[in-house]
Subunit: 208 residues, 2 copies
DNA sequence: ACACGAACTTGAACGCCGTTCAAGACATAT
DNA sequence: ATATGTCTTGAACGGCGTTCAAGTTCGTGT
């Protein structure tokens, strides 16, 4: 029956949305199979007709989160020029602050991207890994403008380093374990870090 | 009976060591109350005479990890001078690489420091928060040498930023989710980040 | 219209988890 | 020896993700 797969598709969608709501509201630990089942209106066991296990469900939610993050970073770079090194620096700052804003506005979903670990022995599917790589894209172009003489491999490595550095500042800054860092302060930390690196690149690029 | 508290103390110590072994071997998720009980040689319920709950146990393990990390960072700075800005930069690089090496050599225990979240509603005890702050100590002095004109508050913020940035690079670099980054490469990433920031600080400090 | 077999759905049951607590074991004082 | 309070124990509890035998539904051949 052709209707079956159709309905399944719709149910799967509903399941992912319910999971997203659950995670956004109460964190990854607040995701419960029984609760999802009752919310979607299917039996507990029926979940396993829609996804293989909870890991896949979390990965699907993560995929949606990454798509929205991608859109947010795209918007932060939209309409910008890279005619000068100043503009390239400014764009890197803008991307970093967009990342920071996204993390703050989607705290639990964003955290889940990094908190989640597959069950023992399970391996992360390739499409999920590919999606993660997308994030480096937005800083590669400005970096290339800042370091035109650098090789591609070097730039890829540098973009990864810069992303990770900003990520670290945002991650520890949004940890409520340590007393919450005010929004302005975190924004300024991120801005300062990126600008220091840009200045460093410029200075190194000129001087050696 | 005076022997009781003594024996309890020894059992508690054994419990923490067993927990440390379990985490180091199979990660935070590999920590099981029943396994600990049999390993320490006490009843399952007896664990809750020694610690309030698993959270406290994880915090105690974390305390030990932080102490060893502290020692590692202390050794990285031991005998170093801060007579010049070059030496200050070099010390920051040394501390960052020591952090990197520690994380690599104590992967699961180090991860646990940041992965662990208290049970819903529970609050992190103050002593655990204080211990976390210790890590900033080792970068404050060199930073002060690099930015002698900066205020104390600014330096504290900057040290936090730099620590977080290095932490981010190490954390994502050691994530086996993405294909493992070779040791040399990660070391060079960390070194480059810290040097870029140092150069940036010097350049900003001179130029504005 | 009816029966048959395959495909799908269901929720009780499984194994595992951290945590609790009534009941038993033990030490000390009388 | 008995009574009293203290400490220890592991079966039991509630909750988790996951499974699967049993029940239901549905397209199809006659």
């Amino acid at each position: 029956m052709v209707k079956t797969t159709e309905r399944r598709e719709r149910q799967r969608e509903a399941l992912v949305l319910a999971a997203e709501r659950a995670i956004a509201g109460r964190g990854l630990a607040g995701l419960k199979a029984r609760e999802l089942a009752s919310e979607v209106g299917c039996a507990l066991g029926a979940i396993y007709n829609l996804v293989q296990d909870m890991d896949e469900l979390v990965l699907r939610v993560g995929s949606r989160t990454l798509a929205r993050l991608d859109a947010a970073l795209a918007q932060a770079t939209q309409g910008r020029r890279l005619d000068s090194k100043e503009e390239a620096s400014a764009q890197l700052v803008a991307v970093a602050q967009a990342y920071c804003a996204f993390a703050r506005g989607n705290l639990q979903l964003w955290r889940t991207l990094f908190e989640h670990r597959m069950a023992e022995g399970a391996i992360v599917p390739e499409w999920a890994i590919d999606e993660q790589m997308t994030m480096f894209r937005y800083i590669l172009a400005p970096l290339q403008r800042l370091q035109p003489q650098a090789g591609e491999a070097d730039l890829v490595l540098l973009s990864r380093t810069l992303f990770s550095a900003v990520h670290g500042v945002v991650m520890l800054g949004l940890e409520e374990k340590l007393v919450a860092v005010p929004q302005r302060e975190l924004d300024r930390q991120v801005e300062r870090l990126v600008e220091l690196v840009c200045v460093g690149l410029a200075s190194q690029g000129q001087g050696g």
